[in-house]
Subunit: 336 residues, 2 copies
């Protein structure tokens, strides 16, 4: 490994000068700068990030805390897409991203401790469960943090506009004439709460009664559970004309239940999903759903985080709301 020193001896200058030349400081003549740059290139020099970080306390490294009770963080399409755009934006700004977990070497440590150990410049948190000790520690630590889809006091959050998304779907469905609408919730979480709030509010605005028996407690990303619940709904004496599934993926289970019951979508019953994943538009009929702007969420998260890091004095905690877009498929039938 070729170091600054190697260059300095070969060129007969001091290490300090080489460092300054390569980092574009002004107190080095143009002539020597070029000479040193040339030598550096010839010798295949690359800065040692560890040494640099040791001195500067900047690692140009962003931690990603992605957890999920199922442990399948990356397999989750929403997370994967958000992370992907986060990564692209971060990389464009010169930051690397590394996953933060709970052990390094043989030692166990908390996520926060891990962040300190690696000296990440900032952390983005995207979890299904924000109520853990691990999250709490990071939130209360002194590393810049951005959270996704969860609001903590005094921390910047990027929020997918869940409330608005559901509202738009309710309005759409109401416009199609539906009045008896079932809603299968996701597992209890801030996101689920917000969506439910949006549902109830929009129903109220449209004068639609929210019948308790049509408000089912389901799970996100759980087609099996959704299958069961959909069966229950279908078996009702006064069957709903439209079902809100927890998300697109789960809706596959719901659609299966409907098919297995000898009914068809949208003729016998209408269905809407949530997320706007690719598959939803490959089904027939295409699913009417709400596309979350995952690209924008990830990009925004990276931008805000980097801004917090690089301009700590001028950047303030804020909540960024990212709207999505209703995708009109063919899974909702006009009944009026």
């Amino acid at each position: 490994m070729v170091s600054l020193k190697d260059i300095s001896v070969r060129c007969g200058v001091s290490v300090a000068t080489v460092s300054k030349a390569l980092n574009g400081h002004k107190d080095v003549s143009e002539a020597t700068r070029e000479r040193l740059l040339k030598a550096a290139k010839e010798m295949g020099y690359f800065p040692n990030s560890q040494a640099r970080a040791l001195k500067t306390n900047k690692t140009l490294n962003l931690g990603v805390m992605f957890s999920d009770e199922a442990g399948s963080g990356l397999t989750h399409e929403f997370f994967a897409k958000v992370l992907n755009s986060f990564k692209i934006e971060a990389e464009a700004a010169g930051y690397d991203i590394t996953f933060i977990n709970k052990n390094v070497g043989r030692q166990k440590m908390s996520t926060y401790e891990h962040c300190k150990y690696r000296n990440v410049d900032g952390v983005v948190i995207a979890c299904t469960d924000f109520s853990t000790q691990d999250v709490y520690e990071v939130i209360n630590g002194d590393i810049p943090v951005v959270t996704i889809d969860h609001i903590f006091d005094c921390r910047t959050a990027i929020m997918s506009n869940n409330e608005k998304g559901i509202e738009e779907l309710v309005n759409y469905v109401a416009d199609m004439g539906h009045r008896r609408i079932a809603y299968i919730q996701g597992n209890r979480s801030a996101v689920a709460d917000r969506r439910l709030a949006g549902f109830c509010k929009a129903c109220m605005n449209r004068g639609i009664e929210v019948a308790p028996e049509l408000l089912l407690a389901g799970d996100y990303h759980n087609p099996e559970k959704t299958y069961e619940l959909t069966k229950e709904l279908i078996a009702m004496s006064e069957r709903p004309t439209c079902i809100f599934m927890p998300d697109d993926y789960s809706s596959m289970g719901g659609l299966g239940a409907i098919k297995d019951s000898g009914l068809s979508v949208p003729n016998d019953i209408s269905v809407v999903g949530y997320d706007g994943i690719a598959y939803s538009q490959l089904l027939s009929p295409k699913l009417t759903t709400y596309l979350q702007d995952t690209a924008e969420i990830g990009t925004e998260a990276a931008k805000k985080l980097i801004s917090l890091i690089e301009n700590p004095q001028t950047t303030f905690t804020e909540v960024v709301t990212v709207d999505g877009r209703l995708i009109e498929g063919a899974s909702v039938k006009r009944i009026i």
Copy 2:
């Protein structure tokens, strides 16, 4: 930030002793070790990974090179799952993983240069295109490397058994009585070649003619293209009784084409996919496909890479083949 020095002054011992105590060296008495450990904990000490790496030349950090012409690396379910299990295994062994790209700070650099800069202990490469200059540099560098689904000379590779997968599918389909089988290829790559080879070989073994007009050049992960090609196949005078789709995701396009033509699966035409993604089993009929053992691939990749890193002298380059498993759905009809 509390350092070894802080502990040493507080406890009245030398920095060296603290270091040794905390790292479990034997030349420190049990009494002082405990005293130091206690102090370290109380003071909230955490080792500085940069300083440590600077000395030891080990970062406990693994680079991940995930590229994809579409730039959608993480969104790709196969990649995401492999990466996920890779991550789990690596973390269990105490390694972090960071994505390697082409710029750090304001500077542009090649992937290999980036690896050197970050001093990753090893790199795993999973790309759709292995023929780039960037891959070439890494392969020819001096960092331990494991590749996924591509074989380079003198480098360990983890291979999904594509040949066997297709062979099993052909045998299954042949057992069901199909003789006129269409095969939509993925885009030109080592994987596509291997699958095609498996297809031809198995057909030959079963005495099935591989008709050139039934061998179509398609794309992986491209439902639209697959839609078109399936339409072409359906329109043939002597229509195939079974179609091999490039992969499960693409097959959604093919299934759409069949439905749009007023035909049904599997009654009018049989279909098989490849990958075994979750969605394929939520369709009705369920897709008959080949489940790649992504968990094993990722786990194996991490194990081999770590082994190369930690036992450079006793570990040799090898090719690990990971078998998958045929999933019998209901998309292939028995016609004999």
